[in-house]
Subunit: 325 residues, 2 copies
């Protein structure tokens, strides 16, 4: 059942002993909104903890203290930034499926699995939590401001993505006035890359190839590059976005070699190219602007050609795209 | 002579026929504040043009129209975001040295060369222009909002740098509400790079050297790299930020070779290292977190060692930094 924000506030006042669930592979918004809400509930005299199926990356350690993370039996269960129960992840999904009483989310694709859902299409769940805390009369608190700034800044690519609104900046101004430690948080979230990351990026950039009058760029990351740079697969996330950033490119593909020699393909596109259509044809899937599929190991050259042909087909199909032909 | 913002407003009301000078190698803030001010002056019924010694990069073309750029004889001369007359650049410096009547700037290192100076230490001159336009009662205008958003977003690395304050976000919220086309501007400023840029980045990254237990990283861009990649000096701006982003690095230096063989040094630091102190000792200047100086051509190795020694001195000087010694 969809509810309004004042009903969320009433629920939080009426109950006690909260367990806040985040999604798996936790990011700044699920953690920022989870811990922000946890600190606020404690200020209200309630007990609250956060549970995540995965280990929380060390860079987020400023959001909480020892003892804030863990399971609580018989608690009132809230999920934040979790569009689908399955995203609660291994262990947490099995235990809490069908048991989430309240979900606070900003994904319009939310599966409405919770008993009550507050959904708003905005840049980050932390924007919603901010409004909620104002409604609840929570005292200004620098640690809560840190939590909410973390969610908003990370889910907007530090105010670069198209989900940013005037309200996003307004809330950020308030969080800074409260004392959010934005300099340190920005450093941790956006300005801190390993030496290995840049070794990998340098090598990957040197493989860039262009097709179809420069409308498609393909970058390759080999196992050798990963080994030489001492980086992990998670380090590739930022790099996959590069081919699309190149002037004139409508579809950017990153081919990432797996230890078994197969390749994971990450596609990114600009309007009007739909990556998910391309990837669906190749057995993968995803969103319009970001999707993925796999290339087999037996014949990588043949599979790469198939990928390029499928991309070409999609470019030709859309008569809003002016191709040379 | 230092003046207050209301005096700047009075001057703009009292005169007509303005020539607004930007600094050489124009960036988003000097152009955004220049054209933002130009559009506002025209709204006030005044004539105004912008002059820049260098060609304005094509990506900024949405800021102005044909005929907005050029020299005007007998005009009231204003400089925006120009800390030192010499930065007016070839041709403009020779003609307008000693003739700037009003300078609006945010560099605390401003040389006070203008007859009247309004100086405020804030993220971008565009923040000052915003306050000035409010004071002048300029009507809300989406193109002016585009200009001011451009300066603020680029001078803050899209809200990532430590120069961002609550006021920076407040002003941005207002600019978005007025209709600044932030999605398109962000794409142009931050998500649109040339093929050459990435060739240059790949080559530059491969030169990274580390000093002083990894607290200092040095990257070199040679004329050969610029030639091979077909990039211009202005393409280097984004790259200069990289060394500081590496984990553990407190001072990042980028050495950029000029056609004559001299090197321009861009320093970027994290708190508490003061780049401007390092650069001042070497005949340069700038801000605490971003500053610059020059290395001569006669003995680049000796000069580079001098730069490293000066950096080391600054690292050792501050007892908040734990060095291995």
């Amino acid at each position: 059942m969809r509810i309004e924000l004042n009903e969320v506030a009433s629920i939080l006042k009426a109950n006690d002993n909260y367990l806040i669930l985040t999604h798996r592979n936790p990011d700044g918004d699920t953690l920022g909104s989870g811990f922000g809400l946890m600190h606020a509930l404690r200020q209200m005299g309630k007990s609250a903890k956060v549970l995540c199926c995965d280990e929380i990356p060390a860079k987020y350690s400023y959001l909480y203290s020892d003892g804030d993370v863990g399971d609580v039996d018989g608690a009132y269960v809230i999920a934040v930034d979790v569009a689908d129960e399955k995203l609660l992840g291994e262990g947490v999904y099995e235990k809490y499926s069908g048991k989430v009483k309240l979900c606070i989310d900003h994904h319009i694709s939310n599966k409405e699995y919770a008993e009550k859902l507050y959904l708003r299409d905005c840049s980050a769940v932390c924007e919603i939590i901010y409004d909620l805390l104002v409604m609840l009369g929570i005292k200004k608190d620098a640690q809560i401001a840190d939590c909410l700034y973390t969610g908003i800044s990370t889910d907007t690519g530090c105010y670069k993505f198209s989900n940013v609104t005037a309200r996003t900046h307004e809330i950020t101004a308030k969080l800074m006035a409260i004392g959010a430690n934005t300099v340190e948080i920005n450093k941790l979230m956006f300005e801190s890359k390993t030496r290995g990351y840049y070794m990998l990026e340098s090598a990957a950039l040197s493989t860039l190839e262009y097709y179809f009058d420069g409308m498609c760029a393909v970058m390759t990351i080999t196992q050798k590059m990963l080994n030489d740079s001492g980086t992990k697969e998670s380090d590739c996330d930022g790099i996959s976005g590069i081919p699309r950033k190149i002037e004139g490119v409508l579809v950017g593909a990153t081919l990432r070699e797996r230890p078994d020699g197969t390749f994971k393909v990450s596609l990114r596109s600009h309007d009007p190219v739909d990556c998910s259509k391309i990837c669906l044809k190749l057995g993968g899937g995803g969103h319009a602007r970001a999707a993925g599929c796999e290339l087999s190991v037996e014949n990588i050259e043949r599979d790469k050609q198939l990928l390029l042909d499928t991309i070409k087909e999609e470019l030709d199909r859309d008569d809003r795209i002016y191709t040379a032909q």
